[in-house]
Symmetry: C2
Subunit: 524 residues, 2 copies
């Protein structure tokens, strides 16, 4: 029996309403990583530092980022955070929207950047505002001549900036860059370890950047740049045809200046030349001379469908990508752990849903790596370290579940550290907080291949160790008995001082090895 | 040396722009769980079923939900999904916005509901649209008299519905409810196991609901309701003062009808009476008779600050919560695993950031639970099962890292299953895909307490087993030797047929136990 009675009849109302994006993220800051006062401080620093690095890289500038944390009200746990960079700056008229509007930014193109969601910086300021009710102060100059200074708050309901004050003056000393400063409720003692790790690891994968952190106790953490070369900045590219959906296609068809489909395809996508374009159009049952704006609903669907069925597209262009680099990764790993063995692999570019990506991976063994049951995993994406939610990440899945390290002679426990790095025009994060990467099959496969190659090299190294240890054992036998045998032999033939050197030489043992074996030090 | 050169001088432009919420989620569907064709189908079913259950519960209706999945184009992997419910329905004029606008909905209040983000249903339709370019068909009646039928698409750029067709007619057979139907690219074979688990587990924690799933091969999965009682629907409550931030306070001060602060406090929040209100106002340095609209910026901050410092608020009202219930949880567990032992704990209500919550937990041992090294964990939140991203969840952290099960005599491997359920007016999900719950300390603590209590009871049971097994061992010795001894004794005294019954009785062993021991079946 269906009871027919409307809510209205019972005098109850279901209230429907729309909320703005800032209200959405205000209400759900857990999903952007702003949960506890500790994690929110970590997230704030992270988002601003990543914006700073992007802003420098965009202008081919060697990044200099200064992070200052001051205590404002110890009793209430309120801090003042300031992040200053020497990047390209934000134009004066864009400052209010760029910093005080959720989902407004410069990061929505087809290129690699640390920021992804156009959200992080504003979330940090929003968090500061709702915990302290104070405006943020933004200063920026794009040309080293004019400096814009704003005090801003966010109108959460309207998702609009509220300008508290604004000023324009000559930039002191020709300074060009951006400074973001605001108050926030924070737990610095609780976040300190992660923040220091974050800065250290960021310095490792960005050896061209100088990072300086002055904390609320006045402690200075300074990572000067190790290389003077600015990496080739990631470039914006045309979308690759694989992974284009109906929504995107419709929009591109509307916006193109091309007069016919043939031109549209060859100028709007990478890896489509006239030959490919013609084949795709034939597959879609469309004529090359048709105007892009005159396609029916069904024809758009047919074109997208032809993209899906056409299996001869060349892989995406990897040039917009900027991986860490084998040398930099190895140097970084050596700097932290001084391990006995390191092997770094950089895979060939691959793609998922039309987005090119490159996987790099490394294993390190021994040195100061702690001997543990679980493997230490260090993850990076677009040159930023990922420190939270490790277990939800595709790299964890591969390292812990897909690879059986005992196949590579790795004992348990072992001093083993694994490093993974992914760079892509779009990293498929599972969360807005950019901590865990989704297990897209293409990425999982590349990670597995890279780590297997690392594993094989590690196995060679561990086998060598094993052999050397066996050799050392034999050697210690020789050490013990050879002199006695020699002495006995010498006595028998009447020689008083036996010379075992020729014998050792025959056996390929140097005297220093013999000495070392005598003193018991194992040579690995 | 700072290089001063603007991007514009180099002829490059940084393009700043705003994007709509639908565009944000369109570009980042991984964060809402819509990553692969398999997972997207799972998410679509899940979001629609949860909306259906909420819609029935809102109207105190015993839910009947029908899920139909049909194959539309086998070659392209396109399916047609339809979910029909007997809930309160959506008013005709709200249908376009409710289904085709991101961040529009009825779920933004202070009450427990399965939906949280006002996002899921629309995300499902958006996913269908971008993979098939077809409109969704929505039918709904709120009164059993008028039926509204819409064909809708989503204008992603504008975040607005595009109405393809609309119709209004008498509801056939007085039907009241909502039907949502759309096409989507999906991988049903890949998603099938999770979908079936999802439906089964949803049925378990919603024993008042009838769930029916007809899949694309025509297979029927039917879970009739087990109880005829509608659970008390969760009610909307006033916000609890703990956890109110400046943003929320400013808004409440603007919207209140109260003429002075004393009335404002006692009518806008739960657990604030006149006495508490006066104490809080004094702490904030504010006068009870001041008008709520006349507070300065600093005074609002002072009031929020007083809320934080005042430590005598009573805990939040748990009545808006609707937990699964110990009996239902136990019955559900018995239905799946028929275990030898079950223990269920329901904790007292607690709160985090002003949101009340209740934790329930259970352990089950033996039966058809597979014997594994890792404990099987089943998670529920607001009466929905959580099946993905287990390792990022606070429950996993507690079960795997905080509790040492060997303390409770649990062997390894063991046939052990752990169940956790949290209900709250706001579940702190880490992801928009609602799969993993954040490790808020208050929730972690309650889970730990609940599982320790389960553990202690499990230990008692396992100790009893241990004793019984020792007894059974002794018994099997008696079984083997007693008859022989008796026979020997009988022969000695010349009795031909020995009667051991009196002896057994003395030892407290029944004849059936003796038989059982002889045949080797262990009695646990």
């Amino acid at each position: 029996m269906v009871m027919v009675e409307s809510l209205a009849e019972r005098g109850e109302n279901v209230v429907y309403r729309a909320i703005s994006p800032s209200e959405f993220f205000y209400k759900n800051r857990d999903i952007a990583g702003f949960s506890s006062p500790a994690r929110s401080l970590y997230m704030s620093i992270r988002e601003l530092v990543e914006n700073s690095l992007d802003a420098a890289e965009m202008g081919r500038i060697l990044p200099e980022v200064l992070i200052e944390l001051g205590e404002e009200d110890a009793e209430r746990g309120v801090y003042r955070l300031r992040v200053v960079d020497n990047g390209v700056g934000v134009p004066g008229d864009k400052i209010p929207s760029a910093f005080a509007t959720v989902l407004y930014g410069s990061k929505y193109g087809f290129k690699q950047s640390r920021g992804t969601f156009g959200l992080g910086g504003t979330m940090a300021l929003l968090y500061g505002q709702i915990t302290t009710n104070k405006p943020a102060k933004i200063m920026s100059s794009t040309d080293g001549k004019t400096l814009y200074i704003y005090e801003l708050m966010i109108d959460v309901v309207e998702n609009k900036p509220r300008i508290i004050s604004s000023e324009k003056k000559p930039s002191p000393g020709g300074w060009r860059g951006t400074s973001v400063e605001f108050s926030l409720e924070a737990d610095y003692p609780g976040a300190r370890a992660k923040i220091l790790d974050y800065i250290k690891h960021t310095a490792i994968v960005n050896p061209h950047a100088t990072l300086t952190f002055i904390d609320s106790k006045g402690r200075l953490y300074h990572y000067p740049r190790m290389v003077e070369k600015v990496p080739e900045p990631p470039r914006e590219t045309l979308p690759h045809p694989v992974g284009v959906d109906v929504e995107m296609m419709s929009r591109m068809l509307m916006e193109t200046k091309a007069r016919n489909l043939l031109t549209f395809l060859t100028t709007s996508f990478q890896k489509i030349g006239p030959k490919t374009a013609k084949e795709v159009l034939e597959l879609a049952g469309l004529k090359p001379e048709t105007s892009p704006r005159k396609l029916s609903h069904e024809q758009v669907t047919a074109l997208v469908d032809a993209f899906k069925r056409y299996d001869k597209f060349r892989p995406p262009d990897p040039t917009p990508l900027s991986p860490v680099g084998k040398d930099f990764l190895e140097a970084g790993i050596r700097r932290i752990f001084n391990p006995d063995f390191v092997h770094v692999v950089q895979r060939e570019p691959s793609s998922y849903s039309g987005h090119p990506f490159i996987v790099e991976a490394a294993v390190a063994y021994g040195g100061t790596i702690p001997v543990t049951e679980t493997i230490m995993l260090f993850r990076f994406a677009n040159k930023i370290p990922l420190l939270y939610d490790e277990r939800a990440d595709v790299a964890w899945k591969v390292v812990e579940e897909k690879i059986d390290w005992s196949n590579y002679k790795v004992p348990k426990p072992a001093p083993l550290a694994v490093f993974t790095s992914i760079c892509s025009t779009k990293v498929p994060y599972k969360t807005v907080g950019k901590e865990a990467i989704a297990d897209r099959p293409e990425i999982e496969r590349e990670l597995t291949m890279a780590l297997r190659e690392c594993g094989r090299n590690l196995k060679l190294y561990l086998s060598r160790i094993e052999k050397r240890e066996a050799a050392a054992k034999r050697l210690s036998l020789y050490t013990k008995y050879l002199p006695m045998i020699a002495e006995f032999a010498a006595k028998t033939v009447g020689t008083s001082k036996p010379n075992i050197k020729p014998l050792l030489k025959k056996l390929g043992i140097t005297e220093s090895e013999l000495e070392a074996a005598k003193t018991g030090s194992q040579q690995a």
